[in-house]
């Protein structure tokens, strides 16, 4: 709706998130980056969207595009929001960069009736291979940082995340993995294959 007239295609994992969201819902995107998802949802699903973004460039891009975004931080700013204020709270590719992932996850499901969380799977076979065969911290297209400059401080695997959800009493409504070609697979009760072949994972969660 805001900027471009032509429908812009978005990253596969963002598209997957977008497809989970009901039209006309209220949504908070935590770590919304340059606002790609918010803009897409605004235009295609008429979502009442808000965002939090830590980087100045990201906030700049969002507010310039007419999106409602505050400069803030998932670790410190989520505590302000009231319970159940949104239909969805999205945490896309941000979980691994926060100080306290468990606390943040708790806030997501306090603030939103549902949470959608996506993250890079650290048990993806190429990463395992890097570590096992080369003995080096993995650097890939989707994780392009060297260990000494990465903002990603809390990596986890799909299996780790499923276990955390269990421990926190969180219901996994849907879970999907994406391989390096963007092919989606439902994460079934046997997590093993998804954990090995999924480069990214997207979870739809509720209490």
């Amino acid at each position: 709706m805001m900027a471009a007239n032509t429908a812009r295609s978005i990253r596969a994992d963002l598209q997957l998130i977008a497809d989970m969201i009901e039209p006309h819902s209220r949504l908070l995107d935590v770590g919304c980056g340059d606002g790609t998802l918010l803009e897409y949802l605004d235009r295609h699903k008429h979502v009442d969207g808000r965002g939090i973004e830590i980087s100045t460039q990201g906030v700049d891009a969002c507010v310039s595009a007419g999106l409602s975004v505050i400069q803030g931080n998932a670790d410190t700013d989520l505590a302000d929001y009231p319970d159940q204020a949104f239909d969805y709270v999205v945490l896309s590719q941000t979980l691994q960069a926060v100080q306290a992932p468990k606390t943040v996850l708790g806030h997501l499901l306090r603030i939103g009736r549902r949470a959608i969380v996506s993250f890079p799977n650290f048990a993806y076979w190429r990463l395992r291979w890097n570590l096992a065969a080369r003995g080096r911290m993995p650097v890939s297209n989707s994780l392009p940082y060297q260990w000494y400059e990465t903002p990603n401080i809390h990596f986890c695997t799909i299996k780790d995340f499923v276990e955390l959800c269990d421990a926190m009493g969180i219901t996994i409504e849907r879970s999907i993995s994406l391989d390096h070609k963007g092919t989606m697979r439902r994460i079934g009760s046997i997590v093993f294959f998804a954990n090995l072949f999924g480069e990214h994972a997207v979870f739809l969660l509720s209490r």
Binding site: M1, M2, R26, D48, R50, T56, V59, D60, C62, V63, S64, A65, G66, L67, S68, V69, I70, Q71, G72, D77, D80, Y81, P82, A85, F86
Partner: protein
């Protein structure tokens, strides 16, 4: 109510001020925060652009402590460009080709609206310090009466920096249904102890000037211009930053090769401040300065709402865009964050950006391309939601 076009306060040369002046509170008085009432009082205002048919494109600009209604035209006293000339005009961020811009001189001011410089209708003499002490709420109350007069039910945007930002917050809290979007800039939900302290220095400078005559300088044929100039000099420092002062002046000397071992303005920064002080007294009333700084000191939207700022905005549908500037130490980013936190606590629609700038509190008045670009984005987004036509 009656409108008198192009007739406002008399100036030194007795020519009327440009703009409009209307008498408000004629049917019902304006009840002030202090308990007093203002009956049949003048409000001087200026407008730019034109109001659309469904009256949905009005933007109220709230001016700061020493500002006035002459936002985007040469000042009638000083001849200098309007104080927000960079922001308001055809094709500018507040585009007068799209929006109807209104700016009213605040209650307590000295450019034609009711204040200590105007006559008390009961005595037909200047109010002076008999004028009731006013609040930010009173300024906003008078502006609301002006909107009634203009037949504007809802403002598209209320915008202002500093004291203007306080008015924006007060507007959003008091008349949420009349504010589609609110842009508080470089402001706070309450005046801090440090800021009250600076204001007190300014007021004491004015009142210590023997020409102040207990506030009755007019009938004594005097003007406490020295006190007012000192107040302005002290305040002006707080509007800048050390970086800005260093960049502008450093330790450079004023028209001399060496210090003179005296108390002349040896340094450029002294000369600059003296100039700021001297030129200010030509256009500003000393008693007005007392009243307006007091109104800012009393401002406490948090206190008014039981110590919980969020209560001021509960249920609000207004779209907010809060701006702060990195080098502003008078209204630091932390104060803006408090506003944003309160708005988040009621899940309000809010954007917030801290703009990188070296120019201190005054940044919002100066060239700041990033600020203008972001504000423009916010306005376009809001205009689309309000159903206003796209920028041509």
């Amino acid at each position: 109510m009656t409108v008198t076009q192009s007739r406002a306060t008399e100036r030194k040369d007795d020519r009327p001020l440009p703009g409009h002046r209307v008498r408000l509170g004629t049917d019902r008085p304006l009840r002030l925060g202090c308990g007093a009432e203002l009956h049949d009082f003048p409000v001087a205002y200026q407008t730019y652009g034109s109001l659309n048919r469904d009256k949905s494109n009005a933007i109220l600009v709230c001016h700061a402590l020493t500002g006035d209604q002459f936002v985007a035209e040469p000042h009638p006293v000083t001849g200098k460009p309007g104080w927000w000339d960079l922001m308001v005009g055809p094709g500018k961020t507040l585009d007068t080709g799209r929006y109807f811009i209104i700016c009213a001189n605040i209650v307590g001011g000295c450019m034609g609206t009711a204040g200590p410089k105007e006559n008390n209708p009961a005595t037909d003499k200047r109010w002076g310090v008999d004028f009731p002490v006013i609040t930010i709420g009173d300024m906003v109350g008078a502006q609301a009466l002006l909107l009634d007069h203009l037949g504007i039910e809802q403002l598209f945007v209320v915008i202002g920096g500093s004291l203007g930002g306080m008015q924006v917050l007060q507007w959003a809290a008091t008349f949420p249904e009349r504010v589609f979007a609110a842009v508080p800039i470089a402001t706070a939900a309450h005046h801090t102890a440090q800021n009250i302290a600076f204001h007190e220095v300014g007021r004491q400078a004015i009142m210590a000037d023997p020409d102040w005559c207990g506030g009755d300088y007019e009938s004594n044929g005097k003007n406490p211009h020295r006190g007012l100039a000192v107040a302005r000099m002290a305040a002006h420092i707080t509007y800048l930053s050390e970086t800005a002062l260093h960049r502008k002046f450093g330790r450079r000397l004023q028209d001399r090769k060496a210090v003179t071992y005296g108390f002349d303005a040896d340094f450029q920064v002294e000369s600059y401040l003296r100039h700021q002080g001297i030129t200010f007294v030509d256009r500003f009333d000393a008693n007005s300065y007392l009243y307006i700084t007091r109104a800012m000191d009393y401002f406490d939207l948090t206190g008014e709402h039981g110590g919980v700022l969020a209560n001021a905005f509960r249920g609000t549908k207004t779209r907010f865009c809060v701006f702060s500037f990195t080098s502003d130490w008078l209204f630091p980013t932390e104060e803006s964050r408090k506003i944003v936190h309160a708005l988040n606590a009621v899940a309000a629609n809010v954007s917030f950006v801290e703009i990188e700038s070296e120019d201190g509190h005054d940044s919002f008045l100066l060239e700041a391309p990033e600020f203008h670009r972001l504000l423009n984005g916010f306005l376009n987004g809001a205009a689309e939601h309000r159903g206003l036509p796209r920028a041509g």
